[in-house]
């Protein structure tokens, strides 16, 4: 397939590996903050191609993993209401809440429908006018514009039984918080598809304030190797900056139309991240003008069970990049993709699942 096969060329990847080895003189830690990158890196065995000086660590880039348990608990509480239909991306269905999952609730009779797109959720709302349709809006800047488009559409088409429960988040506050916390890294592999929407401007503070480079990367092995080369070169030359490797999909200014839709529907609010806690302006709240489609406003009173965090799960430390999945005592024995204890094992973009599948 065009735009994929060429970027899987073994020879090119190896030639890039050699270049990295040639120019790399000091040990560096590079962090990827996108679950898609975590998966590709493990799947294609990128660490095996790198010299000993270059270490890769995973960060908080898996939306399912950073989402709070109380969000899941509240979604479950919604699903227990008789007049509610939950619509959700498949990723969330098996994520453990304090005592249950959406999947278990569905087995018990809750009306929970997996959709591929918010537009499908709107159709469910259109066909079930007497029910309240709650759409679970999670994801970063890549996914949030779709949610904005869905809310705008619901308003225009008068679909007033459609509500979004938003846990959308934005990436830059988490990238800065990690450095503020003292996590030792030397550069960021920038999230490719988030940047497709945002462009490169949102990262400018990182080289300016922290002296760390950000290279926005594609997802194929050649992309990742090229990105690592660019970062190592920046570090060796003492020249941190924001660069784009993924030029075929990321324009410096991003997708302006999608940004406008985001601004129209959402405003920033403080939000909680697993591993990082509450970060200022890191979440997206539905604006007052659109509150008719905000589940939190329109269905305020639900009985949410008390929060219980899983014992022994070190998902938070993994998302901060200070521990690796194999350091978790539950990894691979108690906690597996079939029987996940924490969110990092459930999500197809979670570091624990990536290690379980490709690097056990």
């Amino acid at each position: 397939m065009k735009y994929i096969d060429e970027y899987r060329d073994k020879e090119i990847a190896q030639s890039l590996a050699k270049q990295i080895a040639e120019i790399s003189t000091r040990p560096v830690k590079l962090m990827e903050v996108c679950g898609g990158h975590t998966m590709s890196i493990q799947k294609f065995g990128i660490p095996g191609l790198l010299p000993e000086t270059v270490e890769l660590i995973s960060g908080p880039g898996c939306p399912v993993c950073v989402t709070s348990r109380s969000y899941i608990d509240r979604a479950i509480a919604y699903s227990r209401l008789d007049d509610v239909i939950i619509t959700t991306y498949g990723d969330l269905i098996r994520v453990p809440g304090s005592s249950s999952t959406l999947e278990k609730e569905r087995a018990k009779g809750a009306n929970i429908q997996v959709v591929y797109s918010i537009m499908d959720a709107l159709l469910v709302a259109k066909h079930n006018r007497r029910k309240k349709i709650v759409f679970l809006g999670i994801g970063f800047e890549t996914t949030a514009p779709g949610t904005a488009a869905g809310i705008l559409q619901a308003k225009v088409a008068g679909i007033f039984n459609f509500y979004v429960y938003s846990a959308h988040k934005v990436m830059p506050p988490a990238m800065e918080a990690l450095i503020d916390e003292g996590v030792k890294i030397n550069g960021y592999i920038g999230p490719g598809h988030v940047s497709t929407i945002t462009g490169k401007g949102i990262y400018e503070n990182i080289p300016k304030k922290y002296g760390l480079g950000v290279v926005i990367s594609g997802f194929e092995p050649v992309d990742l190797m090229q990105t690592i080369l660019m970062l190592v070169r920046q570090i060796e030359n003492n020249n941190p900056k924001v660069e784009i490797e993924y030029t075929r999909a990321v324009k410096p200014e991003g997708n302006v139309k999608a940004q406008q839709m985001l601004d129209e529907v959402f405003e920033p609010r403080d939000d909680w991240w697993r591993g990082l806690g509450v970060l200022k302006d890191s979440g997206l709240k539905i604006k007052k003008e659109y509150e008719r489609h905000d589940a939190e406003v329109m269905i305020p009173n639900v009985e949410v069970e008390p929060l219980v965090e899983p014992k022994g799960c070190i998902c938070g430390a993994i998302l901060r990049g200070v521990q690796k999945p194999k350091e978790c005592p539950l990894f691979g024995n108690v906690c597996t993709p079939l029987n996940p204890v924490g969110s990092c094992m459930v999500s197809s973009e979670g570091a624990c699942q990536a290690y379980y599948l490709y690097n056990r």
Partner: protein
Amino acid sequence: MCLSIPAKVEKINGETARCSVGGSTYEANLQLLVHEQVQEGDYVLIHTGFAIQKLDAEEAKASLDTFAAFNQLNNEMDEEEKKLNKRLI
């Protein structure tokens, strides 16, 4: 969920486009792009049902050309190193 896939635009139909991904077809929503900028035959990235960006053929070619040039330089240096029997860098 974060994954986005490149797909080829086969037929534009108002606010949606029929796209092919590998062997299968998919109806993608075009609302997040400025419509006039998408044409049949283009490649777009699809994420949760929405085309979120057009893939830039020239940029793709340019980076592939750079990789190829790299590779060639690398091979030439290998040859030279072998001949001289010492490392260049």
